[in-house]
């Protein structure tokens, strides 16, 4: 009993400084084509970088967003960050802005008008 507890204490004081599970990050990395082997340090760095990224994305989106009044970080704050910030551009596909159906239909109509004018 004490041996296992000691191991847990050791893990805590090892101060890996990360919370995300490296095994899960490794799974995601391996799903990338052409990747064969991943060195342990590289795995650690990617995991840590992902944590830093989450912090950065959350904080930047919040600061730039309208959430300051409502004291809430909302999806649209994130979508705005993806569109407006260069560093978050790679997220535009998965964080699309939401528009009202009404507006979408209007823009469709305008596109058709333009096509006719050509």
């Amino acid at each position: 009993m004490s041996a296992k507890n000691m191991e847990k204490v050791e893990q805590a004081t090892n101060r890996k400084n990360i919370s995300l599970p490296m095994s899960r990050v490794r799974l995601i990395m391996k799903s990338s084509p052409d990747v064969s082997c991943i060195n342990q340090d590289a795995l650690f760095l990617t995991t840590k970088a992902t944590e830093l990224f989450v912090q950065h994305l959350a904080l930047s989106s919040y600061k730039n967003g309208s959430g300051k009044e409502t004291n809430t970080l909302s999806y649209s704050d994130l979508a705005n960050a993806a569109e407006e910030s260069e560093t978050f551009q790679f997220l535009t596909d998965i964080l699309p802005k939401k528009i009202l159906a009404r507006e979408y239909l209007k823009s469709l109509e305008e596109m058709e008008k333009d096509a006719d004018n050509l």
């Binding site: 041996a3 296992k4 191991e7 050791e10 090892n14 101060r15 890996k16 400084n17 990360i18 919370s19 995300l20 599970p21 095994s23 899960r24 990050v25 490794r26 799974l27 995601i28 799903s31 990338s32 052409d34 990747v35 064969s36 082997c37 991943i38 060195n39 342990q40 340090d41 590289a42 795995l43 650690f44 760095l45 990617t46 840590k48 970088a49 992902t50 944590e51 830093l52 990224f53 989450v54 912090q55 950065h56 994305l57 959350a58 904080l59 989106s61 919040y62 959430g67 004291n71 809430t72 970080l73 909302s74 999806y75 704050d77 260069e86 560093t87 790679f90 997220l91 998965i94 964080l95």
Partner: protein, 148 residues
């Protein structure tokens, strides 16, 4: 072996905790935002991996190493991460060294213990499994220690 879709997602509880720690106290995060950030994090891993892999391939290496990841961060314009990453890596390597020495010491101790009862053996087996889980990742880049 079928992969469940959750396997490529990061654990929600951990993501939520990281978000909360980054934001000022008392700020709420909508469920949708949380999910979106989690997905963004997975995409980040993929993007970083692919970028790092390009550096490895350029150097004609098959194994992704720490340098490749750092180069990828620069390429992705996340220079702000470089310093904290370097520091974290230092601490991590020191911790790994200590862990390795500690587990080697434990194995030596176990060899001494192994003479008495079967109860001890089953507990030792449990410990072995646990240690294998920890070392699983380690064996990737480093040589395995051969047990005598």
């Amino acid at each position: 072996m079928a992969e469940k879709p959750e396997d490529l997602n990061l654990p929600n509880a951990v993501i939520t905790r990281i978000i909360k720690e980054a934001l000022p106290d008392g700020v709420n995060v909508s469920k949708e935002a949380r999910r979106a950030i989690s997905q963004a994090a997975s995409v980040f891993v993929l993007y970083a991996t692919s970028c790092a892999n390009n550096f490895a391939m350029k150097a004609k290496r098959k194994t992704l190493n720490a340098g490749d990841v750092m180069s990828a961060m620069e390429e992705m314009e996340f220079e702000r991460f470089l310093q904290p990453l370097r520091e974290a890596l230092e601490a991590y390597k020191k911790g790994q060294k200590g862990k390795k020495e500690a587990s080697e010491q434990k194995r030596k101790d176990k060899e001494k213990k192994n003479s008495p009862g079967e109860n001890d053996k089953s507990r030792d087996e449990e410990e072995d499994e646990h240690m294998d889980d920890e070392q699983e990742g380690e064996n990737e880049g480093e040589e395995e220690d051969v047990e005598n």
